[in-house]
């Protein structure tokens, strides 16, 4: 799950009273929607270059601290079916009707980088692997949380199957909605990290990331990419859509 409709809502609320000309407002709202919402207020201490780089430095320091705090055996809590949030909220950097439609038959998952087996995967092959199901809490960077049920392939099984170099630092993802992100190898190998193919017992619906999303209850929503088309293992920091705009890269709970 990605982004933050309410950041945009916040931006809209902020701008709406100031802009009377409707066409200008439309243009501005669109450019905000497209271009990352950063730097809304004109004069701000956060805009100062030194402050900006100091804060970015602290964020990288916090990445390291979180990597050090991360216990590969600590499990996120699991919940009863009765506690599932219904309907589970849609969240992305675009509207629900704009979620991409991926064709199941022609879908191929690309696997590249530091892996032994670089062949592409068809959906049936992923479905043929051992499946696990879990009910966990999804926590958004905005603060809200919702409980959902995801099922699919344990990502560590998948990485093992493709002969990934698990001593590499990063696993990166590229998605059909042009989203991209990356995670640390320790989280990739966590037992609750899933290549999710189902939601609530059904094939993963389009709005939740068909045909496949990465589901990690140990990370915030924006670290969980949907509509994954390519996975790569690397030692070169790949960044991410929101991370490149200032969200913390580790983004873990």
């Amino acid at each position: 799950m990605t982004v933050d409709k309410s950041i945009l809502d916040e931006a809209r609320k902020l701008l709406a009273p100031r802009i009377h000309d409707l066409s200008r407002r439309k243009f501005l709202v669109r450019s905000l929607t497209l271009g990352g919402v950063a730097m809304l207020s004109g004069c701000n201490i956060s805009d100062d270059k030194h402050v900006e780089s100091a804060l970015a430095g602290m964020s990288r320091f916090n990445d390291r601290v979180q990597g050090w705090l991360f216990d590969p055996k600590a499990l996120a809590p699991v919940y009863d079916e009765a506690m599932i949030t219904r309907p589970f909220p849609f969240n992305a950097f675009y509207g629900e009707d704009e979620a991409p439609s991926v064709e199941a038959a022609s879908y191929r998952l690309e696997v590249t980088g530091l892996v032994a087996d670089k062949r592409s995967w068809r959906l049936e092959e992923l479905r043929a692997m051992a499946q696990v199901d879990q009910i966990t809490r999804h926590i958004c960077v905005e603060g809200w949380s919702a409980i959902g049920r995801w099922g699919g392939v344990r990502f560590s099984d998948f990485l093992q199957r493709v002969g990934a170099d698990t001593s590499a630092r990063f696993v990166g993802f590229k998605c059909a909605d042009d989203y991209y992100t990356s995670i640390d190898m320790a989280t990739a190998l966590h037992p609750q990290t899933l290549l999710a193919l189902t939601y609530d017992g059904q094939t993963l619906p389009r709005q939740y990331g068909f045909p496949m999303k990465l589901r990690m209850p140990t990370k915030l929503g924006y670290k969980n990419p949907k509509h994954i088309q390519a996975i790569f293992v690397t030692n070169t920091y790949p960044g991410g859509y929101w991370e490149d705009q200032g969200y913390n890269w580790f983004g873990g709970s």
Partner: protein, 207 residues
């Protein structure tokens, strides 16, 4: 030489105290204003904080400030507590403390008859208020740890009643701290000498 040492030992606001006080004030300012912006991203009460009072410009910026400021709040808080305990100041200044004493000093204060000639002596309302602020900041840090890393701090998460409960605890502890700050600032305005004392360390006793 000996005299200086004696004076320092009994100085009510030694340098470390003044330093940690002002660093704490800065940390609280950063944490609260950036925290309000984070709250605004997904308010669980039916209001938002005015954007002009918040820090960070957008959610990502506010989070950067918040997760940088937390180190100052935490490290400075630990330093303050350690020195406060090691010097014995915590026990000599803040105790004894009793409900009866608090009520007595509160009633004296409300009648406007509280003595301020010796600022190194805390009345029992002050003792309670300052101890409350210490405990409340500790609660803010603990609930904040749960919000930041709810899986890694699992025990703390369960003690606070889960992730969503920790959000409320974090908010309410912030609101209580703001109430403390409001009263604190009013009291400084009533007895301005205390501000001078917290800056220079001098003027504790009225001559």
């Amino acid at each position: 030489m000996a005299r200086t040492a004696t004076l320092q030992r009994y100085s009510s606001h030694p340098g470390w105290l003044r330093l940690t006080h002002w660093l704490n004030a800065l940390a609280v300012l950063v944490m609260v204003t950036s925290g309000w912006r984070i709250f605004n991203a997904s308010p669980f009460f039916d209001f938002s904080f005015p954007a002009a009072l918040t820090l960070g410009g957008w959610l990502g910026g506010a989070l950067q400030w918040h997760f940088a400021g937390m180190w100052l709040l935490f490290l400075n808080g630990v330093l303050y507590l350690m020195l406060n305990i090691a010097t014995g100041r915590l026990f000599t200044r803040f105790f004894p403390l009793s409900p009866r004493g608090v009520l007595r000093d509160l009633s004296t204060a409300l009648r406007g008859k509280l003595a301020h000639d010796d600022l190194s002596h805390y009345n029992q309302v002050q003792r309670l208020a300052y101890l409350f602020a210490i405990v409340d900041v500790a609660l803010l840090i603990m609930s904040g740890l749960v919000l930041w890393k709810s899986v890694q701090f699992g025990l703390l998460r369960e003690l606070l009643g889960g992730y969503e409960a920790a959000r409320r605890v974090h908010f309410i502890a912030m609101a209580l701290l703001m109430a403390f700050v409001a009263v604190h600032l009013v009291m400084v305005a009533v007895v301005p000498r205390t501000l001078l004392l917290m800056i220079t360390g001098k003027g504790g006793k009225a001559s």
